[in-house]
């Protein structure tokens, strides 16, 4: 089931690749809030809390690492 969902996602993504937004149409996409990973330290903090308190982590980037968390 999970593999099916993944394959459907990939198919949708490849279908979407045909979109071609021109550079002068990307003003909105250039805003910081439209950039993945640009949220700053609050995201780092949250990732570390989740890493410490839950058994699984990572996904958007490498798992926040390096602690013998209590």
């Amino acid at each position: 089931m999970k593999m099916k969902l993944f394959l459907i996602s990939i198919s949708l993504l490849l279908g979407a690749c045909s979109s071609n937004v021109k550079p002068w149409e990307r003003g909105n996409l250039a805003r910081a809030e439209m950039t993945f990973g640009a949220e700053g330290l609050i995201n780092t903090i949250n990732d570390h809390v989740y890493f410490s308190k839950e058994a699984t982590s990572g996904g958007s980037s490498f798992a926040a690492g390096g602690c013998g968390c209590n």
Partner: protein, 416 residues
């Protein structure tokens, strides 16, 4: 000004190998954040200060980042053992030495006191004119009983008229665990002789990603990640109760986890800007690994402009994980000990919910304040995808060892 020059100087040593002649203070942007994290029932408390510095050089040709953090951790962490009906017990705690604790509450907890210092630095550089970039990074962190060293590298490539970005990343880390009081032998009774040598843990991670522009207002990202850890993956401070038929504790023993763990992450994210400029962000993650801790995570954020210079971003997050195959709230004295067993609540089946909001206020073109309040609730049990329910906490006469808990975070940050 003095501080800016110090950061520039620190970065200069990293750049000496990359033909970057100089960095001036004006190239840097900074973020400073302080936060408090508090768990309910007198559990973990964290007071922290973090710094992040970024420099963009040669019109973005080279990007540098530097992160520093200090955490002061106090409180008490559940040991995993069952409550012993009000009796006083001697516990070797993560803060060192032995502690006497009364265990009449619902959980047996070990008090601790720790400091964590973390540092990482990264360099991201364009390596040709056609949108190919490379990055390298180094990370370090240290606690009283734990040391982390990590290296990472990656490549990204823009294609399809810069509508698509492909990325690959690799990371390696070598951690050293040096538990206070020595490393216990797996499943050995509490109080018996421990080995004094430190233990190591190694991790390799790989990530493959695609970021795709879907329209003028929509962008999406898909990542696949594979990670493998080997070495000492147990928690030296966790213990499990062995009980008899009547539910009485016969013995408490140290936990034992497998020495390898490989897992997969599937991650998808989408950002969409509405006509009024407000931004919706949704992220979803599926995780599966060989310990059986499979998880589902979904987070939704909505960033609303309040005025020209301020915005608020409420968010909700849901997380569910199944229990590790070797998770057990307690062991029976009538059965042979298994090869692996842990009653760490973090390996049990649970759900968690996060509710939070970030308020941002721009005070100049470069300066921005942000204030975040967040509530986190962890509850035992949760979704059931048809897996066996034998990891529930109620499989014997004794009480649960993960009743759940809540926590709040209050964070204040300044970008300058």
């Amino acid at each position: 000004m003095k501080k800016n020059n110090a950061f520039a100087l620190a970065a200069a040593s990293l750049m000496s190998a990359t033909n970057i002649s100089s960095v001036s203070a004006a190239d840097w942007s900074h973020e400073l954040n302080t936060f408090i994290y508090n768990e309910s029932d007198g559990r973990v408390s964290d007071k922290s200060i973090k710094y992040s510095g970024k420099a963009s050089l040669n019109d973005g040709d080279t990007l540098l980042n530097l992160n520093l953090g200090v955490d002061i951790l106090t409180g008490a962490s559940p040991t995993g053992a069952l409550p012993s009906d009000g009796k006083t017990q001697i516990i070797t705690s993560p803060s060192g030495g032995t502690q006497t604790t009364n265990t009449s509450s619902t959980l047996e907890k070990a008090p601790f006191n720790d400091k964590r210092f973390s540092f990482d630095v990264g360099l991201n550089k364009a390596i040709n004119e056609t949108g190919t970039r490379a990055n390298i990074g180094f990370s370090f962190s240290k606690e009283n009983d734990y040391k982390h060293l990590g290296l990472s590298t990656g490549l990204s490539k823009e294609i399809n008229n810069k509508n698509t970005t492909l990325a690959i990343g690799l990371a390696y880390s070598a951690d050293t665990i040096d538990p206070i009081g020595g490393t216990p032998r797996p499943l050995s009774p509490i109080g018996t002789r421990k080995t004094l040598s430190s233990k190591s843990k190694k991790s390799i991670d790989m990530i493959l990603g695609v970021t795709q522009i879907l329209s003028k207002n929509t962008i999406t990202q898909f990542n696949y990640g594979y990670g493998k850890q080997t070495g000492y993956l147990s928690d030296a401070y966790k213990r499990i109760s062995v009980i008899d038929n009547n539910g009485n504790i016969v013995n408490n023993i140290h936990e034992a986890r497998p020495e390898t763990r490989a897992g997969h992450n599937f991650f998808a994210a989408i950002k969409h800007s509405l006509n009024n400029g407000n931004v919706i962000t949704e992220t979803t993650r599926l995780h599966a690994d060989e310990w059986g801790t499979n998880s589902f995570t979904s987070e939704l954020k909505y960033r609303m402009a309040l005025a020209d210079k301020s915005s608020i971003e409420p968010y909700v997050r849901f997380y569910y994980q199944s229990a590790a195959d070797f998770y057990t709230p307690q062991l029976s004295n009538e059965k042979a000990l298994p090869s692996y067993a842990s009653s760490d609540y973090r390996l049990s089946k649970f759900s968690s919910y996060t509710l939070g909001a970030t308020y941002r206020l721009k005070t100049s073109s470069k300066n921005e304040w942000n204030l975040t309040g967040e509530y986190y609730q962890q509850v035992p049990g949760g979704l059931n995808f048809g897996e066996d329910d034998d990891d529930d906490n109620s499989s014997s006469g004794k009480t649960v060892n993960n009743p759940g808990y809540s926590a709040f975070i209050l964070s204040l940050g300044l970008k300058f």
